[in-house]
């Protein structure tokens, strides 16, 4: 049986909206415009302290956006925590999974460190490195480690808010020093970006793993800290 609303009107409406959006997008990209931002950005990459254009946009040209994105991650995790404590978690894994996890987790941590470092001149950076750290936490949680290998609540709270703090403090201190908010002095740019990215990697990794647990860390001492 054909229901006119669900089978005809809504699909046709959606197709029409999609067509309209596609048409305007086509007009937008084929239209005649002046200098595009990407060209300007690429030309200034050598001044940014890093040679990977993505990192120079995220951590230098538009570092303020990234600061607020760290805050978004923190807000999401605090929202999860406000809803209640985490479940007790999964059962401890049998020897095969446990052995695999014991092998993979150190590799993931190592790869995260590499991703963080390589982000200065090749694809990589804090978000990718943090995702690897987070996946290490998810693996530990799946294998039955309580709290996904995360530290006790006191330290975890520092860890998840570290990205916001380091980025905001760097910005403020640079402003007090006279350079302007998040305006890196030439020469120091590379190191300040690395500092912020290191803090952000830890924060993103801890946030993703803690978000996977789905609730506030439990009060008991962690059993999953040793791997």
């Amino acid at each position: 049986m054909i229901r006119p609303l669900e089978h005809i009107i809504i699909p046709i409406g959606l197709i029409a909206v999609g067509g309209l959006l596609g048409w305007s997008f086509f007009l937008a990209v084929t239209g005649d415009t002046g200098e595009r931002l990407a060209a300007v950005a690429l030309a200034r990459v050598p001044d940014s302290g890093v040679s990977n254009p993505v990192t120079s946009v995220l951590l230098n040209f538009r570092a303020y956006d990234t600061l607020l994105e760290f805050a978004v991650l923190l807000a999401a995790l605090l929202g999860i925590w406000s809803l209640g404590a985490a479940d007790t978690g999964f059962q401890p894994a049998a020897s095969v999974l446990d052995g695999m996890v014991a092998g993979f987790v150190p590799l993931l941590i190592l790869s995260a460190g590499y991703m963080l470092w390589v982000g200065a001149y090749a694809p990589g950076g804090a978000f990718q490195a943090g995702a690897l750290l987070g996946s290490a936490g998810v693996m530990l949680a799946l294998a039955g480690h309580r709290n996904a290998g995360l530290p006790s609540e006191g330290r975890l709270r520092i860890l998840v808010a570290l990205g916001v703090f380091v980025c905001a403090m760097t910005g403020l201190l640079l402003m007090v020093a006279g350079d302007g908010f998040l305006t890196y002095p030439p020469g120091l740019a590379k190191w300040l970006i690395l500092l912020i990215e290191t803090a952000a990697t830890l924060a993103i990794g801890a946030t993703l793993a803690a978000a996977y647990l789905g609730g506030r860390p439990t009060a008991h001492p962690t059993s999953g800290e040793t791997t």
Binding site: W23, L27, T33, A41, R62, V72, S82
Partner: protein, 480 residues
């Protein structure tokens, strides 16, 4: 050494959020300290705009188009000042309202929300505005669910999803603008934009996303349950500030970005939706059984008045009349911010004392709390639009302009809305004067009642009698 107050107003609450996240045991003290510092930095921005004109800060030192700029003109400074005074009052109230466990969750999310608000009012970059909208939406939904009841969590999950849909729609519009013109700074986009299908689609997507967040009829369905079930200080912030931020952004885009591509049909559509919101929201407020639900539906109606201004603005040629109209709309938004926050804070006090907020059974409880009831009365004066409130002045200017333009139908809608508002406010107040002997004390809990009272006083007397400074402030870059 140079201190730029613009980034400070966004970063101080972030640092505060870090501090209260890390030491939850001292959340209240640290949170209040961060609240005072944030409000001070934001009010200093407004003072600087007042005395020196438009302020601008190029973050990262790159300048546009490459970097992001913050900018404060009269319009942002006015909203910034209102938001920070209300947020400070909400913070003082929250210091007494939230105890141990809930305080740990409230303060970090609240400071993140505050940072997003200040960031939104100061942003001059379309993508940066999207990030502030995301931060605002996520922290607002999390705060709204803090009571932990099933209704609150369900309502705020819906609020979160609706908010995400709104942000996505906004982002799609930004992507379209970036694809077509290659810039994101509001000033540069305004220079580049040309009438055509691309600009119209982008405008529809962006304004459409924002009216979803501003709860304009018929997209208001998420607001009443979300605002009525949140803890009182959060309801105050959600109703007074968060929906107002979406309206501010819609107005900002309307005036600064899409000015060359506007047509009257779009303005009339917004106005018609606003008119429907006024009538429907006021009617539902009149029929509401609970005090906080009444306040939430009243927000739907009050947002409607703000959108009636769009067709009036579109029909008025540039000049003194249009400037006055714009200032009246801003005055209406600011007065509603103060009044609704005061109303919710006082309602929360009544609810806490009585153990419920069913309007028909409130008699004794309201009478035992003279200060809270007086605050509800003052806020009510401003919500109805009686003199000397700011709403009276604002509605007067809007009515006068509608008459001059010959658009009498808006006049009827505003009259009906005002009558209904009087009915629902007096319905609450009449319950406060029917029982019990005279109470012993006027103020029973200074910490929670005084902020509410203060906000009510600002809405009724401060903005009504002393509205002149707003006109002076808006001359800084907002008129034209």
């Amino acid at each position: 050494m140079m201190i730029d107050a613009l980034p400070l107003a966004v970063t101080l609450p972030l640092i505060g959020a870090f501090a209260v996240t890390v030491s939850p045991l001292h959340a209240r003290g640290l949170g209040l300290m961060a609240a005072v510092l944030t409000a001070a930095s934001a009010l200093s921005v407004t003072a600087a705009v007042w005395s020196d004109g438009v302020l601008r800060a190029d973050l990262g030192g790159w300048g546009v188009p490459l970097g992001i700029a913050l900018e404060a003109d009269g319009l942002s400074a006015a909203f910034l000042a209102m938001a920070n005074v209300v947020a400070l009052a909400v913070s003082v109230y929250a210091g007494g309202y939230f105890k141990q466990e809930s305080a740990r969750h409230f303060w970090p999310l609240w400071l993140l929300l505050w940072s997003a608000l200040n960031g939104l009012f100061l942003a001059a970059d379309l993508f940066n505005l999207y990030v502030t909208l995301e931060l605002l939406g996520i922290s607002a939904a999390a705060l709204g669910a803090l009571t932990g009841t099933r209704e609150a969590v369900a309502a705020n999950l819906r609020y979160l999803l609706v908010g995400l849909l709104g942000s996505m729609s906004y982002l799609l519009g930004v992507a379209l603008i970036y694809a077509a013109y290659g810039v994101l700074d509001i000033g540069l986009v305004a220079e580049a934009i040309e009438p055509g299908p691309v600009a119209w689609t982008a405008m529809t997507l962006m304004i459409g996303g924002l009216i979803l967040k501003a709860a304009l009829f018929p997209m208001h369905f998420w607001l009443p349950p979300a605002h009525a079930n949140a803890p009182a200080p959060v309801s105050a912030a959600l109703s007074a500030l968060v929906v107002k931020a979406a309206f501010y952004l819609a107005l900002r885009l309307w005036l600064d970005v899409f000015a060359p591509v506007l047509n009257e049909a779009a303005a009339n559509l917004l106005g018609i939706l606003g008119a429907a919101a006024v009538v429907w929201g006021s009617w539902r407020a009149l029929r509401a059984e609970r005090l906080k639900l009444l306040a939430a539906y009243s927000t739907v109606a009050q947002m409607g008045y703000l959108f009636i201004a769009f067709p009036l603005l579109a029909a008025t040629p540039p000049g003194l009349a249009r400037d006055n109209l714009l200032a009246a709309v801003v005055l209406l938004a600011l007065t509603h911010g103060f009044a609704k926050a005061g109303f919710f804070l006082a309602a929360g006090m009544v609810q806490k004392t009585a153990g419920h907020d069913r309007i028909d059974d409130l008699g004794g409880a309201a009478q035992a709390l003279p200060a809270a009831t007086f605050a509800i009365g003052l806020a009510g004066v401003a919500l109805i639009g009686l003199p000397p409130s700011g709403t009276f002045l604002a509605k007067w200017v809007m009515l006068e302009q509608a008459m001059i333009l010959g658009l009498w139908w808006w006049l009827i809608v505003m009259m009906v809305g005002t009558l209904l508002a009087a009915a629902y406010i007096f319905r609450v107040l009449s319950r406060a004067f029917n029982r019990e002997p005279t109470p012993y004390r006027f103020v029973n809990d200074a910490r929670t009642e005084l902020p509410a009272l203060l906000l009510g006083l600002i809405a009724t007397f401060g903005l009504g009698i002393a509205a002149q400074p707003l006109w002076v402030l808006l001359e800084q870059g907002a008129f034209g």
